[in-house]
Amino acid sequence: MSFFLYKPHVYGPAGVTTPDIIIDYLRTDEGKVISPQMLTSDTFLSAQGTMHVTPAYGKIAAGGGALIAPMLLLDDGRYVLPRLAWRIGHLPDQPICLSFRHASWALPGAKERITVRGHCEISLFAKKTCEVTLPSTVDIFLTQDGEKPLPLTLHIDACSKAPATQNARYSVGPTRKEVKHYI
């Protein structure tokens, strides 16, 4: 019953549509099934000083037609799924390219549709993994001639270190006399 609630902003010829889509089945194009709760947002706190990221793209089933979005695999197994997406059926019949770190690739299977509700399929560029030193941003984007590029900017920061943080505080409002709270 677990699922990930995906809230894409889908760029299409008539504007931007914003369906909320439940993803309850996540797999790679090689058939590896992954918990949908390994999907995460594009702002990330890492407990490590460095981390590895792998470019990818995902296709998501949707009632109005399958979506495609750039993705990243993080080295702890989580997948970054940004909220910007295209609807595959709206795209011209031209190759979709994924760009990452000054390299780009045409996506061979990008036009294949997936139609089963709740499904998301990820295609990885496993040999393109790179190391990132924190804090950092990682940019990846999908392009197609005549279409607005779809960017994914992953913001990675390091987790706070305990000695550098302040104690959590509690505030009660009135500090000099009893006053009525209006909350």
């Binding site: 677990s2 549509t17 889509i21 439940i22 909350i183």
Partner: protein, 329 residues
Amino acid sequence: MKHTAYAATMQGLWLSHDDGESWARLLTPTGGFYNEARCWCVEAHPMCPGEVLVGTDQGLYRMNPAEGRFDYIPSPMDSLHILQVARDPNDPDFIVCGTRPAELFISENNGESWVRAPLDAATECWFINTTRVTSIQFDPRDTDVIWATVEIDGVFKSEDRGKSWTLMIHGLADNDAHDLVFYDGELGRDILASTEDSMHRSMDNAVSWLQEPTDVAPFVYYRSLVQVGANSGIVLASVGDKPSGETGMVLRSTDVGKTWQTIALPHPPNSTIWGFGTHQADPDLIYFCTIFGQIFQSKDGGITWAKKRRELGEIRMITWEPQDMDTKQ
């Protein structure tokens, strides 16, 4: 009848213990509930006054009247909008919740555990992009049968307490469905369905529908339906210019929707009338709310109405129950 009225609003759940004259929320710091949570639905317990369920954008809550607070109910719906909640009137531990996106979640043990029902509603739709559940009803003839309406997808029916569902839209002129009422008479069953394009009627248990436009109202956006008493032929319908709209009307029928009468209101509604609030303890006591915050009350089964002074911003549902137990405010 002394009663407590509840209004689910975009700024929490409001309560009135004085016939709808004054309204307040539970204490913010210790009420167990963020007072500005968006609340879409509130459901009174048929046997335990005060133990209402509230669906929000932050999960499902149950009021604990003895402690004067809300108790959070863990469920898979925390990240969803819980728009509808219904309990089997014969088995109140059996709870069905409807969400946005349009899914149904069912608990058979008063919220201890949940399953996601195989509703298979459309995952996208025109105009609102994401489908959502607009009503859930247990069939008054057989509570193993559950009905749900989905905007925008149509009318769904389950004959096995939610384990399987069938989409029943043959003949619907518009599958933007909002609400249902059931009437079982000597000549058979009538079901009325309100949609964004007029009222619809089925006389074959929703196998097929016939659109029933009426010239009584200048609008076709039908929203809420309610019967004045169990299996009554007296039906109230709300109709507005559009969602959320700038005005609305109450229509009343005494013959299960075959003819309608426009009900005079003491003050013009400021938007579409979003919902009626009734309770079996007194079918003549009825509230309605406009989506933009007005509250009206009738004590004669919807023939005459009084507008309450207090307005509450955006109201999505209103209901009431007999006042047998105090709640702390």
